[in-house]
């Protein structure tokens, strides 16, 4: 109770994770996670492959319920809220999945248009214009009528991002956005994320291994460890790289060189 009260009293906290334990069946992935994400943060979730980063994202966006503990969004406990409240909270999110997760039977424009048609009263022509705009933001202008199978993996990721920002969400969530992107596209993506944060005040949560973008855009982070099955560091990534007490964290952020 005191925790919840504490969260409500801090208006800048957007998401907070309290005593979270995540498990698939009996198999615990991570336990005792505690951190909070401020409005306008670019929050990085890092850790070795298989440590549970994607699983943590699924808990934050309401796809998987915690084994223990809770996730608060705007001070509301997500998993104890009634279903319709959960649905409304979910609408704060725009998510890009690890593989893009575009709907394969729809063209790119239809992929972006589907959530717009669902939650706005825009005319089909306007929806098409919005879709084109979002595609050009991610550098895919002219690909409106392509199906996901007809474009490359990196392009699919960017199209997934265009769909995620279709409804101008308050919270933007990425699972490994730059994996599989060339350096230029990856840099463009960083710029776009920063721009969205600066102009729309979007809170961004990113799972990434890309050290260059971690240091370029990250304002806060958590580090998940596989062996101890919990978080072993929290804070600004640049500060962690230079001043973390934990050799595992410094080694990760310095590409294995201590």
């Amino acid at each position: 109770m005191s925790v919840a009260a504490g969260i409500q009293s801090s208006p800048d906290t957007h998401i907070s994770v309290v005593d979270l334990t995540m498990a698939y069946g009996d198999f615990v992935i991570q336990r005792d996670l505690n951190f909070s994400i401020q409005r306008g943060d670019i929050f990085i979730i890092m850790g070795a492959s298989g440590c549970g980063k994607s699983t943590l994202l699924k808990h934050i966006i309401g796809l998987k319920s915690p084994a223990k503990g809770s996730v608060y969004i705007d001070g509301t406990n997500f998993w104890t809220s009634p279903i319709d409240k959960q649905e409304r909270l979910k609408r704060h999110y725009g998510v890009t999945f690890q593989a893009g997760a575009l709907w394969s039977s729809l063209t790119l424009a239809e992929n972006i248009g589907l959530p717009l048609g669902e939650y706005t009263d825009l005319s089909p022509a306007t929806i098409r214009e919005v879709a084109s705009l979002k595609l050009s933001l991610v550098g895919l202008a002219g690909f409106e009528d392509f199906y996901p199978a007809e474009i490359s993996g990196g392009m699919r990721k960017r199209a997934g991002l265009a769909r995620a920002i279709a409804l101008d969400p308050e919270i933007l969530v990425f699972d490994e956005p730059s994996a599989g992107l060339d350096p230029i596209s990856s840099r463009r993506l960083d710029d776009l994320i920063k721009e969205l944060r600066d102009s729309l005040g979007t809170t961004v949560v990113i799972v990434t291994h890309e050290l260059a973008s971690i240091f370029a855009i990250g304002t806060n982070s958590v580090f998940l460890d596989t062996e101890s099955k919990t978080m072993i560091a929290e804070g600004n990534p640049v500060v962690l790289r230079d001043h973390s007490d934990d050799p595992r964290v410094r080694s990760f952020l310095n590409r294995g060189e201590l």
Partner: protein, 382 residues
């Protein structure tokens, strides 16, 4: 001697018992995978008779080696370990020693979560039973979600694209006509022929018309169509939705607050529940035509005679029963296919499993509901 012919000298193994309780293995010639190599079993004899000590090597005559030598050596090393002998690598070439060390650098993983021993027969049976027990409530929950979605359909709140529905209807209806025609013609043919041979003994061939007409329209048409559609369309639904699950497309719907049941399951269920009864009627007609062919060409009945007998035998209720059965099978196939697809695991192999179990589940559902419906209609006297 040129190196090519030198490297072709066959691999030979000399085993010598040294005085200081050592076994010397002399490796000569070319030890490569593609050469015929001595087996480590011959060494085992020497190791057993030595009864302890050290294994040493002389590789001065070795001309070429690759993985073939390495596997031989690891085998010898494990034999040495079993019989408590030391394994002295000093006589081996440098490259061989380094690769053997590399292979030992990371110890064999034991905590990978897999047990070495395969499950015993009884624990496999137990696991299957537990899986069934657990998947029961989950399936009921899924059926509940589908029912809610149908409720939303009638409130005009369900979200799916009409163009999807048209495409699904096209795939489940017209495109299934050739295979349904083929199978129901064949079944009608067999049915008529088998029946007629018996009826002929009483001179009652004309009753083929009753047999084929009522049988096909009321029972067999629906059953055959159901089984064809389970293999054809139910499997394809499971594969489509399973692949979408693997690609996280279903998660993408959930995050956006769009119900995947509304968007994906509902149109598929509508398509099948509309098309399977129509196909059932069609299968009945094709079966009757097949019966007609047998009656006319094999048993010398007249076309009109057969036609009138069929019309006399068939009542509207038979068609109604066929249609009721057809739509129930359609709904069940859609539920089984979509359920297996949406609950699919995260890999290509899981999609294959989902497809298989979609067909099996559909057919089990069809058989169970066919029995229940037949009993119900019997009790109601129709």
């Amino acid at each position: 001697m040129n190196p090519e012919s030198e490297s072709r000298t066959p691999a030979q193994l000399g085993i010598e018992q040294e005085k200081n309780s050592a076994v010397l293995l002399r490796l000569t010639g070319s030890w490569r995978l593609r050469d015929p190599l001595p087996t480590a079993d011959s060494v085992e004899q020497a190791i057993i008779s030595a009864g302890g000590g050290t294994i040493v090597f002389d590789a001065t005559q070795l001309t070429a080696w690759d993985t073939g030598l390495l596997t031989f050596l690891t085998h010898v090393q494990s034999l040495a370990g079993q019989h408590e002998m030391d394994f002295d690598r000093a006589g081996l070439p440098d490259g061989v020693r380094r690769l053997l060390e590399l292979a030992e650098a990371v110890p064999i993983a034991t905590d990978t979560g897999r047990s070495k021993q395969p499950d015993s027969f009884f624990s496999q049976i137990g696991n299957v039973a537990l899986d069934l027990y657990r998947s029961g409530p989950d399936m009921v929950r899924f059926v509940g979600e589908v029912a809610q979605s149908v409720g939303r359909l009638f409130q005009r709140k369900a979200q799916f694209r009409l163009s999807d529905l048209w495409l699904l209807i096209q795939q489940a209806g017209p495109e299934a006509l050739p295979i349904v025609s083929l199978i129901s013609f064949l079944v009608g043919l067999i049915f008529a022929y088998m029946g007629a041979v018996q009826l002929q003994q009483f001179g009652a061939q004309i009753y083929i018309a009753d047999l084929v007409g009522i049988g096909m329209v009321r029972e067999i048409g629906a059953l055959m169509t159901g089984i064809i559609m389970a293999g054809r369309t139910g499997a394809s639904y499971a594969a489509q939705l399973g692949t979408m699950q693997v690609n996280e497309e279903i998660d993408a719907f959930r995050v956006l607050g769009i119900s995947p049941v509304d968007f994906l399951v509902l149109p598929r269920m509508l398509a099948l529940s509309l098309m399977v009864p129509l196909l059932t009627l069609y299968a009945g007609v094709v079966g009757i035509l097949a019966g007609l062919c047998v009656a006319v060409f094999v048993f010398d009945l007249g076309v009109f005679e057969y036609y009138h007998q069929t019309v006399r035998a068939l009542e509207l209720k038979h068609f109604a029963i066929g249609v009721i059965k057809g739509s129930s099978y359609g709904i069940l196939i859609a539920i089984a296919g979509c359920y297996r697809g949406i609950r699919c695991g995260g890999s290509a192999a899981a999609v294959g499993q989902a497809t298989t179990s979609a067909v099996v589940t559909s057919i089990v559902f069809i058989v169970v509901s066919a029995s229940i419906l037949t009993i119900v209609f019997q009790v109601l006297g129709i």
